[in-house]
């Protein structure tokens, strides 16, 4: 049964990572036109990536950091309410969660960011996205 619990936990982790991935991916998609415009105005790829990194990795860092801390608080409260206070602080799990979210987030920002930046300027005049 503990293996069943592990599967549940893994499934929620996978879905969580997927949703974060989609959110970042969507943001990249919506910014393609803005990025094409910036390229036309002479901004270097390096600067554009830098801006993306600052913005997204910054949001990811703070949001996921707070989220993981929030999860510790919430798990403690839930354990008091539902599981007779069965709770013990384990530093490894939240650290691992944070690192995984950052890894996935950073990877997507890097990959899709570069892809979005590489999009042809003609997309600016195109109606499709």
């Amino acid at each position: 049964m503990s293996q069943a619990l592990l599967v549940m936990a893994l499934l929620s982790v996978i879905v969580g990572l997927m949703v974060i991935g989609f959110i970042i991916n969507h943001q990249m998609l919506t910014r393609e036109k803005d990025m094409a415009l910036e390229k036309m105005l002479g901004l270097s790829t390096r600067s554009m990536m830098s801006r993306l990194r600052f913005e997204f990795i910054g949001i990811l860092f703070i949001a996921s950091g707070l989220g993981v801390i929030g999860s510790l608080l919430m798990s403690y409260l839930l354990s008091v309410v539902l599981f007779d206070g069965l709770w013990a602080f384990d530093p490894i799990l939240p650290t691992l969660s944070f690192v995984m979210i950052m890894l996935v987030g950073v990877s997507i920002v890097e990959v899709l960011g570069r892809k979005a930046i590489a999009t042809e300027a003609a997309v600016l005049f195109r109606d499709a996205d």
Partner: protein, 703 residues
């Protein structure tokens, strides 16, 4: 026409539409997988708990149960069937050696759930031939210890019984009794023949009830309470989810945990969809304004947005359901291979109904206020406010869905409460931070650009932030709770946990036992002293309860708990199955020669909660006529499933060392043959020491 327009919108923006549908599909697929899996686990848990009890409801008593007891239950459940069983301790002997045994007799067909597996490869109830009045099935340890073979005859009571089979697996073995005395199954006629029931006999009477399909007594607490109140305190009523023992409590935890998992999956899927919707609507604001400018009325605009998003959601939902159906088969074999779960019928419509609701109805509720707002924006009616009811629709819908999937007001309430509190705190905080960020002057132009962009497009920033925050929150929530639960429910690895648990080892037998174990080359571990005591007062308030007054059933139960005394131990430090939760370690050995100051004590955390204890509380005990005071210095958690000797209350060394005591101990990892031999040798050399085979017990309590 609007519908065609919506369809064309999808066709004209293939990339966006694809990613939108993919997001919905994968989010919902995750929900389908979790719900399906959870359904399997829950079904398995429910059948497991029924098998452990053997019935849907059981009456048990030390006094004979009569027809009137049965009628009380039948008045609530007319179509219930019932059968009886008996548990009786007795003695048997063979080859010159005697053994305590637990005789179990049951009416043919009982238990209703759970089967005995016999060595002849037959099952009972099932294809095993029912016992005749002169036949018996015995546990394998009895066969080994007394060297009994099939066909041999055993004297039990006033008669002799022929051993016709050996029980290989019995899910209803009890920790307290069956592990000490091996079980022998007789028929009800056999019990009569053996004259085991006479005046003065100690018999455990049971009547089990089977209810019609669909009746789950555990779901109706009021009815269960009414039934319980119909009986006096001599009759105990048990249901599959009785929380009176470790298994019941564990099953309750798992149920709540699974409810939480569903909520998390639902929430994650909804966060993804919510984010996509609002981002898309914001992004398309200019397009909507254009459409309105060229003549599209607001009503049609609203319908257009609604149809567009609904079509996308429906594609995503239907794809998710299709994939889910296709994946059911491989999922079943995967689960069967890797998990100790028996899956008779994995397929259920329930997860798919939920996915339909979440995939179609949920986006509708979500999108209505957003679409209205977008339409006001597009038609320049900025001053017009979206009705509050429109905003409240989705949260209300989500709340109802949450209660449905978690099947518990407490679970859903606790979860939603947490989510809402974070939202109420974060939104104003983030707005403040973004305001602050917009005023920050930084030299790096790219950083400045990023900060300005974040603060200027605050709605987008807020939505990304909240989405990532909530994903991270729930992402870590389940693994965090799982780890804590697993410490509670999982049984220690067989290579780590002991094989035999010993108790009633006398003080003057400890050295002999050590010699015995080293001579036999067997690992003797965890030798722990046990001192019997009564808890007299807590902070000078009397603890025991007077029982010569009229008490309710619950008060009587509470009084029995308080008045029965407790087992204390002493140690210099925590053992491997314990973890300090609050307070500090012992400061060393008790030194006060005057014995005026209280000794330091450590309390198991759940026991502490039950007694309402705090760090610093003073407990007074009576130990064989001697008053001893203890001060609580710490609470610890105990993993009872390690099967190491553990105690609710542990004193520091130095104060109880001289008190009369017995010892508990364990023998480490042993093969079955060694275990059996050990039990025989132990019985010869230390006849007063009881040895429990832990492997047998685990078969029952492992969930």
């Amino acid at each position: 026409m609007i519908l065609r327009l919506a369809a064309r919108e999808i066709k004209n923006h293939p990339r966006f539409s694809f990613f939108f549908v993919l997001s919905v599909l994968l989010g919902l697929l995750g929900l389908t997988a979790i719900e399906s899996f959870k359904g399997v686990v829950q079904t398995n848990l429910q059948s497991r708990s029924k098998e452990l009890l053997g019935a849907d409801l059981e009456l048990s008593s030390r006094f004979a149960l009569e027809d009137r007891h049965v009628k009380i239950v039948e008045q609530y459940f007319e179509d219930a069937t019932h059968l009886s069983s008996l548990d009786i301790f007795s003695m048997t002997s063979f080859n010159g050696a005697s053994r305590l045994i637990q005789v179990r007799a049951q009416e043919n067909g009982y238990p209703f759930y759970g089967k005995l597996l016999l060595r002849s490869n037959t099952q009972y109830p099932g294809d095993a031939t029912p016992l005749a009045d002169n036949e018996a099935w015995i546990y394998p340890e009895l066969a080994t210890q007394l060297n009994i073979k099939i066909g041999d005859e055993l004297p039990i009571g006033e008669a002799v019984f022929k051993v016709v089979d050996i029980v290989e697996r019995d899910i209803q073995q009890s920790m307290q009794t069956g592990a000490i005395a091996p079980r022998v199954y007789l028929s009800m006629d056999g019990v009569k023949r053996g004259e085991l029931i006479k005046f003065g006999s100690t018999v455990g009477y049971k009547v089990g009830f089977k209810f019609p399909e669909g009746v789950q007594i555990d779901k109706d607490k009021d009815l269960l309470d009414r039934i319980k109140k119909s009986f006096d305190s001599t009759v105990r009523i048990s249901t599959p989810s009785s929380e009176e023992d470790q298994v019941g409590r564990t099953l309750a935890y798992l149920g709540d945990f699974l409810g939480l998992v569903s909520l998390v999956a639902l929430f994650l899927a909804s966060v993804g969809i919510l984010y996509l919707f609002q981002a898309h609507l914001r992004h398309k604001a200019a397009d909507f304004a254009t459409l309105h400018a060229i003549g599209m009325e607001r009503g049609k605009l609203v319908r257009f947005m609604l149809y567009h998003l609904s079509l996308l959601s429906m594609f995503g939902t239907v794809s998710s359901i299709t994939f889910g159906l296709i994946l059911m088969g491989p999922l079943k074999s995967l689960a069967f291979q890797f998990l100790p779960i028996e899956i008779d019928n994995l397929f259920s419509f329930k997860p798919f109904v939920l996915v339909l609701l979440v995939g179609i109805a949920s986006p509708l509720f979500l999108s209505i206020p957003l679409i209205l707002k977008a339409s006001y924006l597009a038609t320049r009616k900025n001053a017009q406010k979206v009705p509050v009811l429109a905003w409240a629709a989705w949260p209300l819908f989500f709340a109802i869905l949450s209660f449905y999937v978690s099947k518990s007001f407490l679970v859903a309430g606790a979860f939603l409460g947490g989510i809402i509190i974070f939202l109420l705190v974060l939104i104003p905080l983030l707005r403040l931070c973004l305001n602050f960020i917009s005023k920050v002057k930084v030299k790096n132009i790219n950083l400045r650009h990023a900060l300005l962009r974040s603060s200027r497009t605050w709605a987008a920033t807020l939505s990304i932030f909240l989405a990532v925050f909530y994903c991270s929150l729930v992402f870590n929530l389940i693994p965090q709770l799982r780890t804590n639960l697993e410490n509670e429910i999982s049984v220690a690895n067989p290579n780590v946990r002991p094989s035999i648990f010993l108790f009633d080892v006398q003080d003057d037998q400890v050295e002999d036992l050590k010699v015995f174990s080293s001579q036999s080359n067997l690992p003797l571990t965890n030798i722990s002293p046990m001192v019997r005591a009564r808890l007299v007062s807590i902070n000078d308030e009397k603890y025991e309860i007077d029982t010569d007054q009229k008490l309710t059933r619950e008060e009587e139960r509470n009084a029995r708990f308080r008045n029965r005394g407790m087992n204390l131990s002493y140690a210099s430090q925590l053992n491997a199955s314990e973890k300090l939760v609050e307070g500090r370690e012992f400061s060393g050995v008790y030194q006060d020669e005057s014995m005026e100051s209280p000794a330091e004590i450590s309390i198991e955390q759940r026991f502490a909660t039950r007694l309402g204890l705090n760090i610093g509380d003073i407990l007074e005990f009576e130990i064989l006529g001697m008053p001893i005071k203890g001060k609580v210095v710490n609470f610890r958690s105990v993993r009872w499933t390690t099967f190491m000797p553990n105690f609710f209350i542990v004193f520091q060394e130095g104060i109880l060392n001289d008190a009369p005591k017995t010892f508990l101990a364990t023998f480490g990892q042993l093969s079955s043959q060694l275990k059996d031999k050990l039990q025989v040798d132990l019985f010869k050399k230390f006849p007063n020491v009881s040895a429990v085979d832990i492997g047998r017990v685990i078969e029952r309590i492992v969930v």
